[in-house]
């Protein structure tokens, strides 16, 4: 390893400050005593904002809502996506390229383009303002992502595995269930993390389709956080940290997986 030059060191510090600085400022704000935000520096640190966010507001409920929607989306897209991705990677059939391009095109849809019909559809079937109903439109971004990332994972598994299973008398479906699916577990985990993060962060559909305050997801709750009196910056910061910390931990722990998953579909076309 070469000794880094001054230029490299400066660039590293500059990037770290830019990317982490605002996040640390938010953490500091969340620990800042409420009456002192006007002062240049806090006299002491306190967890008061966390206490009032977690117990004074229905924030835990909101976190549970987000967990439910994100888990539903992940489960439902991975179940369908894994089967389809296996077929796309290992079986011969017509329309393969079309399906992959269609999935890519759908993931580029501006969500606003489908909001009005989806609103009417969900209302007609009684699933507007329902967390289960919200997981359905989430397939617009989650399913294409699943298809692309998982197809590239299944392609990396040797074809011989599939052929050997077929020679041993498995049907294509059995070969998928018994042989390839277990081997694709790391790919499934990567995809699950990505889909979960995207679903957890989604805003426009959640804002449009949910109207009962008790059903709000984390982004909606944070965007609407109290405008009753003055902006409660300390509480907003505390809520943001609570909403973000699990994702930051997840990301740092699974850094390599996330990077490979994000670039899998994009680079190895």
């Amino acid at each position: 390893m070469k000794r880094p030059g001054l230029g490299t060191a400066l660039a590293v510090v500059a990037f770290l400050t830019f990317f982490l600085g605002p996040f640390f400022w938010q953490v500091l704000t969340s620990l800042w005593p409420d009456g002192e935000l006007t002062r240049p520096w806090p006299s002491h640190l306190t967890v008061d904002s966390y206490v009032s966010v977690l117990w004074g507001r229905p924030f835990l409920r909101v976190v549970a809502n987000s967990l439910l929607v994100a888990a539903l989306t992940t489960g439902f897209c991975l179940t369908m996506g894994a089967a389809a991705a296996f077929a796309l990677a290992k079986l011969e059939f017509r329309g393969k390229g079309l399906l992959l391009s269609a999935a890519l095109a759908v993931s580029m849809f501006p969500p606003i383009a489908t909001v009005s019909p989806l609103y009417l559809i969900l209302r007609a079937v009684g699933l507007r303002d329902s967390l289960i109903g919200l997981a359905l439109p989430y397939a617009t971004f989650a399913l294409p992502l699943t298809l692309w990332v998982l197809t590239s994972f299944f392609r990396q598994l040797p074809d011989e595995l599939y052929r050997a299973a077929r020679v041993d008398g498995c049907t294509p479906f059995q070969a998928f269930r018994r042989v390839l699916l277990p081997l694709a577990a790391p790919g499934l985990a990567t995809t699950a993390i990505l889909v979960f993060i995207f679903a957890w962060n989604e805003f426009l559909y959640a804002l449009t389709f949910l109207s009962t305050p008790e059903k709000r997801t984390v982004p909606v709750a944070i965007s609407l956080f109290a405008s009753e009196y003055r902006e409660p910056w300390g509480e907003i910061a505390a809520a943001s940290v609570v909403a973000t910390l699990p994702l930051v931990v997840l990301t740092v722990l699974f850094q390599r997986r996330i990077v490979s998953g994000l670039t899998a579909g994009a680079v190895k076309e």
Binding site: A11, V12, F15, F19, L20, P22, F23, W25, A83, A84, A87, L91, E92, F93, L99, A105, V106, M108, P110, P111, I112, A113, T114, V115, S116, P117, L120, I121, T140, L143, P144, L147, V167, T171, P172, F173, F176, I197, N201, F203, L204, L207, T208, P219, I222, F225, W233, I236, A237, S240, A243, T244, L247, T251, V252, I258, V259, L262, A266, V267
Partner: protein, 292 residues
């Protein structure tokens, strides 16, 4: 392997395996897009239940709607500036991440932090940074009392900064993946020939990186063009509609005014802009593939 019967069976099972995904994609994307086009041909006010076919009236109104053109201009400006800045920052960042130095792991993990933070949360975080009285930015600029989110010239640029912070990491990762595909041999040969670092960057790195850069541009510009979350939280399109993008205008028309006819026309127009943008990028990418 076995004969035609087995292949036939394989094909049948393949269709069964992809069928659920195809049905869901059609249900959540294809049908709604067609339905949006159909809705846009109506006068349709949700609360009054009023709905009648008016043909292209909504589109005729759209073409003469100054607010639409201003939203289109804001969206285009946002996309152009944000994506350019992101690329200019992402290339040096990726070059840095591609080198071996102590603390690379730390940098690699930390750039993912803004990516993982929900856009709404990052917008709230920056709104507090931009707070005119107590925000970090004005604290660091003594004597400054700029109202970053309330002054027309500043607000759109503040939104661009939030987008740059949030998505530069993703662009850098795409560029990094491209860099890792370039063989070390080329650099070795160039070094033997006495090429400078800058020369190697210009003559080896940039040309070989071009496909990755174009791909990043494609993804990011389509994504930036649909911007909604950050601007909705920062300014809701204000002050005086100077940060109102197409998605924000369409959302307000649909959900605040309950005008599903004209709102759908705005949504369809946004969709068509994205299609045109994608077609242009794909042509460029195709030309690039053809040249190689």
């Amino acid at each position: 392997m076995s004969g035609g019967g087995s292949l036939e069976r394989e094909r049948r099972q393949a269709y069964l395996l992809v069928a659920p995904a195809v049905v869901v994609l059609a249900g959540v994307a294809l049908y709604p897009i067609l339905a949006a086009v159909w809705l846009s041909l109506h006068r349709f006010i949700l609360v009054f239940g009023e709905r009648r076919f008016t043909g292209l009236d909504n589109y005729a109104f759209l073409l003469s709607d100054a607010r639409f053109w201003s939203a289109l201009g804001n969206t285009a400006y946002f996309t152009l500036v944000a994506v350019t800045v992101e690329l200019l920052l992402a290339v040096p960042l990726a070059l840095l991440l591609n080198r071996a130095f102590p603390g690379r792991g730390l940098l690699r993990a930390s750039v993912l932090v803004p990516w993982a933070i929900p856009t709404v949360v990052s917008a709230r975080l920056w709104a507090w940074m931009f707070n005119p009285e107590y925000g970090l930015i004005n604290r660091m600029l003594p004597g400054s009392d700029i109202n970053w989110l309330g002054a027309p010239g500043y607000a759109l640029h503040a939104a661009i900064l939030v987008d740059v912070w949030k998505t530069t990491p993703f662009v850098a990762l795409l560029v990094l993946a491209g860099l890792q595909g370039i063989g070390e041999d080329l650099y070795k040969a160039a070094r033997v020939d006495g090429a400078s670092n800058w020369r190697m960057f210009r003559s080896i790195t940039l040309p070989l990186l071009k496909p990755a850069l174009l791909l990043a541009l494609l993804f990011r510009s389509l994504d930036a063009f649909r911007v909604f979350d950050a601007i909705y939280v920062l300014t809701e399109g204000g002050p005086a509609n100077t940060t109102e993008t197409l998605s924000i205008y369409a959302y307000k028309t649909l959900m605040r005014s309950g005008d599903f006819g004209y709102g759908s026309a705005l949504s369809v127009a946004t969709f068509l802009c994205v299609v045109v943008l994608a077609a242009v990028w794909l042509r460029l990418l195709g030309r690039e593939e053809g040249a190689r």
